[in-house]
Point group: C2
Chain length 289, copies 2
């Protein structure tokens, strides 16, 4: 791993911010002149605030804040998020069946939760059950610390679970339900305010995670999870958890330097993170740090 | 064709400017921190100067001016340009053979000159003769106004030829040599100062075009060819030429609105121009306007 183990803004992040903005503009059916104005605003933020000492998520938050202001729309992904949650909820019993029919329930559930992050790629089309089943059967993580994770999970009582995207949270629910049935205490973290297609507290409750865990919301709609967060419940949970489970790449970027037992489940979504981890892009990662 | 026939800055041009800058940074072996600083400077220009009423080439010029200043290097493509010219010159006799063996010499030579613009894609690897031969055999233009062009060329005496890239100019030389042998008067236009991998007056002379034509240099290292150019010989040649031959996409962007008999030979290099012409990206264009 490069750069003394720090995940910092890279030049490749810059074109990616425009790609993210383009996705929002397309969702909102912007005409090209409006989209160019949006890009000009983003250029201003990059010029004034891009900082090689910060995580990519730090600048991404400022850019997405601007995008929301630009469109006067606090939640451009609202409809897509509901669609995504509903679609995955309709498969919940099938997911349970996949796990029950597998040899190692914990392992299968961790894999499904990681696959949940993979389908974030496919946000703008319907993700079908067959696709998830195929990804499950052919699953091959570039980093696969399962035995280490199992060991910490088996001994531990207190689990802090940091969610990522809508849709994905339904596959996280499988893991949270498994922990609940094993008698663990789980705190689930979601966003207080909307950002991208990230799960909010409302979303997490909508998919029924609150039946199995305490749910807390953090932040002001930031990308990833900066720590300390300013939320005393979350910050205390970080200090006292036996294991933290962090979903998604932005949480990896922001929580990677945390000196706590932490398990990262995500799919590598850009070349910068791929180089950082010395894996290929699109690789699933199941990593204990 | 959209927008009343005007080729103007599109939102898609913005990510493309960063791609172009990235190519220069890679040629000059920049480290990532330097590349990020370069991107910040480009972001400032985009924020301050992106203008939907101008051509993409107009903003591209300002960005490439900045890149040259940033690196304190007036000609980052110098070595690659020489390499490209030398490589194509080594095939010159083979190109002549292809033309002689073809049924319609004028048509074959126009096609080879257009293919010259296609190999600009492959600037950073060696382009081989076999590749050009294959492209010649399978050549298929999305717009192919050959009969119209032939008609104007046959009647006309004065030809103004606006060049594009190094390497490509060797294939243009075939066409200019053909005109010369038919007794036409040809004025060839190249850049006065370096910009990207565009041919300068020096390059055009290096490949021996001055044996068959008068060569003039214009501008201060701009992308494409704004008109009026400020150069009285060029501006007069535009007014008096029986036909203008314009190579490459940036010249298309900047000369498209000219009210003169003009033939555009180029390969479509982005989605914005593809949409504008209602063709697919990477299409070769042989268009009389």
């Amino acid at each position: 791993m490069n750069d003394g183990g720090k995940m910092r803004l890279k030049s490749d992040c810059i074109p990616c911010f425009f790609k993210q903005a383009s996705i929002v503009a397309n969702i909102l059916n912007s005409d090209d002149a409006t989209k160019l104005e949006l890009y000009k605003g983003i250029s201003k933020i990059i010029f004034e605030r891009a900082d090689i000492n910060q995580t990519p998520a730090y600048l991404a938050t400022q850019i997405h804040e601007f995008i929301k202001e630009f469109y006067e729309n606090p939640d451009p992904f609202k409809d897509l998020k509901k669609l995504s949650n509903d679609r995955m909820l309709s498969f919940y019993d099938d997911f349970i069946k996949i796990i029950r029919e597998s040899k190692d329930h914990l392992k299968s559930t961790i894999i499904l939760s990681t696959i949940g992050n993979l389908i974030d790629y496919s946000l703008y089309r319907s993700v079908e059950l067959d696709e998830i089943k195929n990804k499950f059967v052919s699953f091959n993580a570039a980093i696969f610390d399962y035995e280490k994770i199992k060991n910490v999970l088996t001994k531990g009582e207190k689990i802090l679970f940091v969610t990522d995207n809508c849709g994905e949270i339904v596959l996280d629910k499988l893991l949270i339900e498994l922990f609940y049935r094993k008698g663990k205490k789980v705190i689930v973290v979601a966003k207080e305010k909307p950002i991208l297609n990230d799960a909010t507290v409302e979303d997490v409750k909508y998919v029924g995670i609150d039946k199995f865990a305490k749910v807390i919301g953090i932040g002001n709609g930031q990308v990833g999870t900066p720590y300390p967060s300013g939320n005393p419940i979350f910050d205390r949970a970080v200090e006292t958890a036996d294991i933290i489970i962090s979903k998604g790449q932005a949480n990896f970027e922001t929580l990677y330097e945390l000196k706590r037992p932490i398990c990262f489940l995500f799919v590598v979504k850009c070349q910068s993170v791929a180089s950082f981890l010395n894996v290929t892009e699109s690789s699933p990662i199941i990593m204990m740090k």
